[in-house]
Subunit: 332 residues, 2 copies
């Protein structure tokens, strides 16, 4: 001990004498290369007897369109982005499907943008299947895929790059009201060519035509899979559905697109309507009803477009809300 | 296309007819096992020409001691924990060392609890070296380890389980004021046996006696390594030091223990003094001075005990502060 004090204090003192500058060393070894690769994008938590894994599909960074919020000006949106320390003139959209292992059933909720988007976005989006493998989950072991609604960024991961079913043994569950809307060719005739609804319409036709899985429709307020209850959240699309996942005393609300791209923007401004909400007023009404419930009951909320790992609490803040992320747990 | 509509709509309709209950299937395959393992604990970001990797050492969950905050009651602390959606009667303490690759130098800032803690905590803490490997970083390639102060949870990862230097080729940089304090045996005689300072004192003796690396002391306001400036933040310990990391226009403040275990608790209550601050008033003064600067300059802050990945912004909120986590980016 005494030896430590003397030897080290001398070493310390000697070095201290030569302190300015201290960064005078030339490394004898080659510099370690920068790695340029993000961590595998998943986050796991125990939920009663269930194991939940939030698996990111990545995130898309888009220019802010003038009409992005139909009832707020570009300046108002930019001011809100700035106040939240988010980049102005950009919409940053994370996507986070969820995998639930109930102990007897392996269930995927939504599937990301799909492999074509991976190439288009240079790997920023369409990561779901890569991250699923990194999370140790075999797509062939998935029993059910539950879709919240039939938008491309939720449906895209149903197929592989080659157009084969990405979950070969899964039954696919689709909200009945969405199915009715997206499979009625009469609706297609009322859509503007090149519009987001039209792109989604054609995408749904193509995906479900290729899909060999059994498709089952589900209604609101049903137990779609054990412990997974469908919660109507209409407006974003005609059949847009949230899910309440319960195991024992543990509850988590999968909010899907109750708030959409740059979700925290719409948490803080729940009266703002994003241009691709098919019925903005209904979407706002669903948002307020479900967030009021989540805030009152202090529910854990898992949000498809909320910042990864997309898990936290919704707090009331006047007539708006605030998202408080859960603290990351480094073990289970 | 027409074929799709018909075939699938019939399938959908047929299934829809049998909707209640839909969860009637018995899986033909064995249930997929739950995995029980968290994602590798690192998060990477570009920072000017630098690459920064936050690498978690895990997190320790401790009972809340009555005297944990010396100037607030247990009830006040529990009320604050509850308001922040944190568990009452517990302190949850994440630990997040940081690795900076400047392009020419590979620098580690703080090192976690060390391998003994990994066993004691059953893997909850002491994860740093495991996660470092998962992040693709070779400890032998590290040029410098910069310590913010000489507390056990920052020093522990300097040695392997067998007591060998964990960073065999690194020079170790220690704040001069901390070195003076922890190497003065006179200070040991004034410490209560079994107290946290005494445990840290004996731990420092043991670690630095075993360490074969060159130890260099550094003062405040020095460029300890290229682009890494030491910022005095005294109080928590006599030499406790934050670091401002600059590359081009990018700046991030590594705040170290400016707020300690359950760091967000002290962000929201900056006037509260944790019992292991060696000078609570000085620590508070450092906290307010540096947080005021961080809020005014909208600095990114990387906080050792803030929730992983421990990166975000500090906002002023009356005479207190709020931590706003940065949005996770799933690519670089």
């Amino acid at each position: 001990m005494a030896q430590f004090s003397r030897r080290q204090m001398i070493a310390g003192s000697l070095s201290a004498a030569a302190l300015a500058p201290v960064c005078h060393l030339t490394p004898a070894r080659a510099a370690a290369p920068q790695i340029g690769k993000q961590a595998p994008g998943f986050y796991r938590y125990r939920h009663g007897d269930f194991e939940v894994t939030a698996v990111t599909d990545g995130a898309i960074r888009q220019p802010l369109a003038d009409s992005y919020v139909v009832n707020a000006s570009r300046d108002q949106v930019n001011a809100a982005l700035g106040a939240m320390h988010l980049e102005r003139d950009r919409i940053f959209a994370p996507l986070t499907p969820v995998v639930i292992n109930t102990g007897t059933r392996l269930v995927v909720i939504d599937t990301g943008l799909g492999p074509a988007a991976f190439e288009q976005s240079k790997g920023a989006g369409g990561q779901f299947h890569t991250n699923l493998r990194a999370a140790g989950i075999d797509a062939a072991a998935v029993d059910a895929v539950v879709l919240s609604h039939l938008h491309r960024d939720h449906v895209g991961g149903l197929l592989t790059k080659d157009g084969h079913p990405a979950f070969p043994n899964a039954e696919i569950f689709v909200p009945a009201a969405d199915w009715r809307f997206w499979s009625d060719d009469g609706n297609l005739t009322r859509m503007t060519a090149g519009s987001i609804p039209e792109i989604n319409f054609r995408n749904n036709k193509q995906v479900f035509a290729s899909l060999k899985n059994r498709v089952t429709l589900y209604d609101a307020d049903k137990e779609v899979q054990p412990g997974i209850l469908s919660v109507p959240a209409y407006g974003h699309t005609p059949g847009h559905t949230a899910h309440l996942v319960t195991s024992g005393n543990a509850k988590v609300l999968l909010q899907a697109d109750l708030t959409a791209f740059s979700a925290t923007l719409f948490v803080a401004n729940p009266g703002w309507h994003v241009f691709f909400d098919m019925d903005g007023a209904a979407a706002e009404s669903s948002r307020r009803r479900i967030y009021d419930m989540a805030a009152s009951e202090k529910l854990l909320v898992q949000g498809y477009h909320l910042p990864f790992p997309s898990l936290g609490q919704i707090e009331r803040q006047g007539s708006a809300y605030r998202f408080v992320p859960a603290t990351w747990n480094s073990s289970l």
